[in-house]
């Protein structure tokens, strides 16, 4: 028999304080019955023999000291089943699409245990997204966590959708699912995603969790955990390859800060809690591949950098945890280039294990490094030209300057529905633009690759 306590002594922001309870477990799920008959849910944050602190998910509006509090004796769990595919759920896991409640096959703790590093398999399967700046220079592999660092007003949603549409492992038709977790995005943005999912038929193999901008901020803290729990279930129990799209991590961190402030914690950098790294890690680290399991969890989250500042705590801490980042650039966007991905600050840490002979092509890494080096130098030249004029450059430098333009125009720029093949399109274009440079400048590429793939040599041999 569960007791109902009416011993609330203090309500402060999203927190309530209770006295004189039986021993209550840390992290336990709590139901709060309001005088008007509605029920809210919360979680125990601090428990001692005298006082219990509960964080209320749906906000404390309407709560008073007459409200009854019931401790459920268990931590937050998500009901999971394969029937979740095609469903739209709230940020707390309740159906929003008018359908029935999920008939659970299992109920799983949303906090998820940490994966034993010994059980992990290093991610190596190349995922082709059809976007050259990702496939060619910042390759995504199965089991990776690779966020998009973007800014307000940039087309990160289009890029994410294009990836969700096009991503596949070449020569494989294994079961594939998308788990979409919206945290604090607007209704309009959510509809944009839903329409695209419906149009492309992706919704059938998707599970959607929606916590919108006007939903309680506290709920945002469990939305991604719900989504990842669903993803892990589909991946490890049903052998599916799951792509998790979480948007927007910035809203999640804002909610984290809001909660920290409500608990009167000592704030860290810019008011964000000192444990934000660990907290974010508990989300990001839930990507991976397990030895002996067929499925995998790949994460592709969206993060808008406040003020386009990559050193802001949110992108900064994320960058230290994730396996790279795709940086969307305002400068390229203004030039009218889609996708406006700036490859220089972008990075995929797992690229080297996903490319090369037998996966993409043996010259892939060398070609990518060479383009990086030349594009970086070319961009420096632009700054120089602005001061001294083009004529003051040496012939070599002028070539490199031209390369930077070619790179943006031919390699970076592509259509919103253009699905480029890694070898036939992306690497071909790469060699075409590299061949505009003098052969002696290709210092990053082994001679045997130049012999085999340089258009000039190919023309000769054909």
């Amino acid at each position: 028999m569960t007791k109902e306590y009416k011993t609330i002594t203090e309500v402060s922001g999203p927190l309530i304080f209770l006295e004189k309870t039986e021993p209550v477990g840390y992290g336990e799920l709590v139901n709060i019955n309001l005088p008007d008959g509605t029920t809210k849910r919360g979680q125990v944050l601090d428990t001692s023999a005298d006082t219990v602190v509960v964080q209320v998910f749906e906000g404390t509006g309407g709560l008073n000291s007459e409200s009854g509090v019931v401790f459920t004796g268990e931590t937050i769990k998500l009901s999971v089943s394969k029937d979740m595919l095609g469903r739209i759920l709230s940020g707390a896991g309740e159906p929003l699409d008018g359908g029935p409640r999920i008939v659970p096959d299992d109920r799983i703790d949303v906090n998820g245990a940490s994966m034993n590093p010994y059980s992990r398999l290093p991610p190596v399967d190349f995922i082709q997204t059809g976007i050259s700046t990702i496939d060619g220079t910042n390759t995504l592999v199965r089991g990776q966590k690779l966020p998009i660092f973007s800014g307000a007003g940039l087309p990160h949603n289009e890029i994410a959708l294009q990836i969700a549409r096009q991503a596949k492992v070449l020569g494989s038709d294994e079961p594939f699912a998308v788990v979409f977790a919206a945290m604090g995005i607007t209704n309009e943005e959510a509809q944009y995603f839903m329409q695209d999912f419906e149009k492309t038929g992706a919704l059938e193999r998707a599970v959607v969790f929606l916590n919108l901008a006007d939903d309680p901020a506290v709920e945002r803290l469990i939305t991604p955990r719900m989504a990842l729990t669903a993803a892990e279930y589909l991946a490890y129990e049903h052998d599916m390859h799951v792509l998790v799209i979480m948007t927007d991590i910035t809203n999640y961190c804002e909610a984290l800060r809001q909660m920290g402030a409500a608990r009167e914690e000592v704030p860290g950098r810019r008011g964000y809690p000192g444990y934000m790294y660990t907290d974010l890690a508990s989300l990001y680290e839930r990507a991976g591949v397990i030895k002996g399991k067929k499925g995998s969890v790949t994460q592709f989250s969206i993060l808008t950098m406040p003020g386009d500042d990559i050193t802001h705590p949110i992108p900064d801490l994320s960058g230290y945890i994730t396996e790279g980042q795709i940086v969307v650039s305002r400068e390229l966007h203004r030039k009218g280039i889609y996708p406006p991905i700036n490859v220089l600050p972008s990075l995929s840490r797992l690229m080297n294990s996903g490319i090369g002979k037998g996966k993409t092509r043996e010259d892939h890494k060398a070609v990518s490094d060479q383009m990086y080096a030349m594009y970086a130098e070319g961009r420096d030249m632009r700054g120089l030209v602005a001061i001294v004029g083009k004529d003051a450059l040496s012939e070599r430098d002028q070539k490199i300057l031209e390369f930077a333009d070619l790179f943006e125009d031919r390699f970076v720029r592509q259509g919103r529905n253009e699905n480029r093949h890694i070898v036939d399109d992306t690497l071909r274009i790469a060699w075409e633009i590299l061949s505009e440079l003098p052969m002696a400048q290709l210092t990053r590429i082994d001679n045997k690759f130049i012999d085999a793939y340089h258009p000039a040599n190919k023309a000769k041999s054909e």
């Binding site: 336990e28 001692s48 010994y118 992990r120 050193t311 705590p313 082994d446």
Partner: protein
């Protein structure tokens, strides 16, 4: 003796207990599941415990048991080739016990209790032994002879000594006062193991990485820090050091970092060969993996667990290299626990004792003369992850006050794929002078001057670049243009090194010397030709110069280099001049 108390309060990893009187840093078992924790504060009749596992569902009133022991590691044969979490639980055993995800409340011995080791005594009955003295040996791996030592705080006369196959907890020696010794000994992680004497580091740690060995060497027994923003190559550099350093033992601590990285190391190390012995790298390695999503209190402990294991092998007379990736995550775990204790914060919320803890840790490095009479060393290389890549933050600054070598990673370099992206202007090594004699004797008499010359050119380049930014390179006089060109060669041909290229990933010192010497030779000939009136364009466009860019990738480096050098002689002879 075990005394029982109960839980008073639970707030995340911090649990307050009452009813028992533990000592500071005693290990206690918390709750019905017996979660491991460590006492970190005592106030009145209550004590605060940091718990190494997730505390969800734990209630006030649950029992608490004091083990009366401080947090210790088990030392003995079987450490090598292991992968542990932050409190020395073998991850392989945890996987066997509870599957792919780490559940809580599981205990696992650091050393395998069933495996038998072949113990060969080297003392006999009647010998007197002191603390730290070797009483026998075990062949732990092909190349590592594990010396079984008397624990540092024990001494006496040998009454009985056995020989043959034993497990780590079987008695192999009895002293006259009745003390029984096993191959395994326990040592408290927060207490440095004693040594006879600390020595000045005098030999370099050869890493096979040109910019490290060549420009900023670290000594065996020295300390180094690698700070850098994310994506600048900290982890790759640490892994390169773990792979190629000429050391006997490697202790690699993945402290609050990525799970996939540890999986990568686990996958790769058994396949790779130790350049010194030709055996799999894993045979000389101990891995400690407390990834970012594993409990934060165990992360705090992982660094101590690692260095205690390192000290144990050092005491046997081995050179040990310890990599801690990343010390910032360790500092953050201190901050997190400190803030839950509601301690007065210092800079950026870090506890005021941050700097003291960091120095205590780095001070456990060093070249020593051990109690057993051997010379051993621990080299500590700590990665630092400064927020926003800003080196003025407290962890970087506190670290720099202690360490002697600073390898500054630079995001600008990594963005243009200049790897290793260590900035040659802001990095430094305080060991260069102390090691100069070693280099002169063991590399080449002119090595020091070659290196100084290269550093000088790089410095000149950065000054000239400022002018180029304003007026363009064509406006510079020809000799300065040549300086720029030679500096570019040093950067691209010598400093850049591809960790993923089968040949270039490891560069022996002899090759480093010859490569730098070849660049310097071009520099001399080019300067001479310029003085003799050869046009600048001709000097820069000699083919052998471009060929030199790729010799580092050749399997047969020697002959490839000779071909290029011969060609270079011929080309310059043709250019003529005077």
């Amino acid at each position: 003796m075990e005394v029982k108390g109960e839980i008073y309060r639970v707030a995340g990893p911090v649990v307050t207990i009452t009813g028992i009187k533990p000592k500071m840093y005693d290990v206690v078992k918390v709750g019905h599941e017996g979660l491991m924790g460590e006492v970190i504060r005592i106030k009145g009749d209550k004590a605060t415990v940091q718990v190494y596992e997730d505390t969800s569902g734990i209630k006030p009133g649950e029992p608490v048991v004091n083990t009366g022991m401080s947090l210790s590691v088990e030392l003995g044969p079987g450490l090598l080739e292991s992968i542990y979490d932050g409190i020395q639980r073998p991850l392989k055993v945890l996987q066997e016990q509870m599957g792919d995800f780490i559940q809580r409340g599981v205990t696992a011995n650091g050393l395998d209790r069933d495996k038998k080791w072949d113990f060969k005594p080297i003392v006999s009955g009647g010998d007197s032994v002191k603390g730290g003295e070797v009483i026998g040996v075990v062949q732990e791996t092909m190349n590592i002879e594990h010396k079984i030592m008397v624990p540092p705080n024990v001494s006496g006369t040998v009454n009985e000594i056995k020989s043959g196959k034993f497990t780590v907890d079987e008695t192999i020696c009895v002293l006259s006062d009745g003390t029984e010794l096993q191959m395994m000994q326990k040592w408290s992680v927060r207490k440095p193991r004693p040594v006879a004497k600390k020595l000045m580091p005098s030999k370099p740690l050869i890493t096979g990485q040109r910019i490290l060995d060549g420009l900023f060497p670290v000594a065996k027994g020295g300390t180094a820090a690698i700070p850098g923003p994310f994506g600048s190559g900290k982890t790759v550099t640490q892994q390169q050091l773990a792979k190629w350093s000429d050391t006997d033992i490697v202790v690699y601590i993945g402290c609050g970092e990525r799970g996939n990285e540890m999986a990568d190391v686990l996958n790769e190390f058994p396949e790779l060969e130790d350049p010194k012995t030709g055996r799999p790298l894993m045979e000389r390695t101990v891995l400690i993996a407390n990834t970012s999503n594993m409990p934060v209190a165990a992360r705090e402990a992982s660094v101590y667990t690692g260095i205690t294991i390192a000290e144990y092998y050092r005491d046997m007379g081995y050179d040990v290299a310890l990599m801690a990736d990343s010390t910032s995550r360790w500092a953050e775990s201190m901050r997190e626990i400190s803030s839950r204790l509601e301690e007065m914060p210092g800079e950026e919320g870090y506890p005021a004792y941050l700097s003291a803890r960091l120095s205590e840790f780095y001070e456990r490095a060093g070249a020593v003369h051990s109690l057993a009479g051997f010379d051993g060393s621990i080299t500590v290389i700590g990665a630092v992850s400064p927020p926003g890549g800003d080196f003025s933050e407290p962890v970087t600054q506190s670290t720099l006050r202690i360490v002697k070598v600073f390898w500054a990673l630079d995001a600008k370099l990594s963005q243009r794929r200049h790897f290793p992206s260590i900035n040659w202007l802001s990095s430094y090594s305080l060991y260069t002078n102390g090691l100069a004699d070693w280099f002169t004797e063991n590399v080449a008499p002119d090595w020091i001057s070659l290196r100084d010359n290269a550093m000088d050119l790089l410095q000149q380049e950065s000054e000239l670049q400022e002018i180029v930014q304003l007026v363009g390179s064509d406006a510079l006089p020809e000799d300065q243009q040549l300086t720029l060109e030679i500096a570019r060669m040093i950067r691209e041909y010598f400093l850049q090194q591809n960790a993923f290229h089968p040949v270039d990933t490891f560069c022996p010192f002899d090759k480093q010397y010859k490569l730098l010497k070849a660049i310097s030779k071009y520099g001399e000939m080019a300067n001479a030709a310029l003085e003799a009136g050869v046009p600048m364009g001709d000097i820069i466009s000699v083919e052998s110069k471009d060929d030199l860019a790729k010799v580092k990738y050749e399997e047969d480096f020697e002959s490839a280099l000779n071909v290029v050098l011969t060609k270079m002689d011929a080309e310059f002879a043709k250019l003529g001049g005077k």
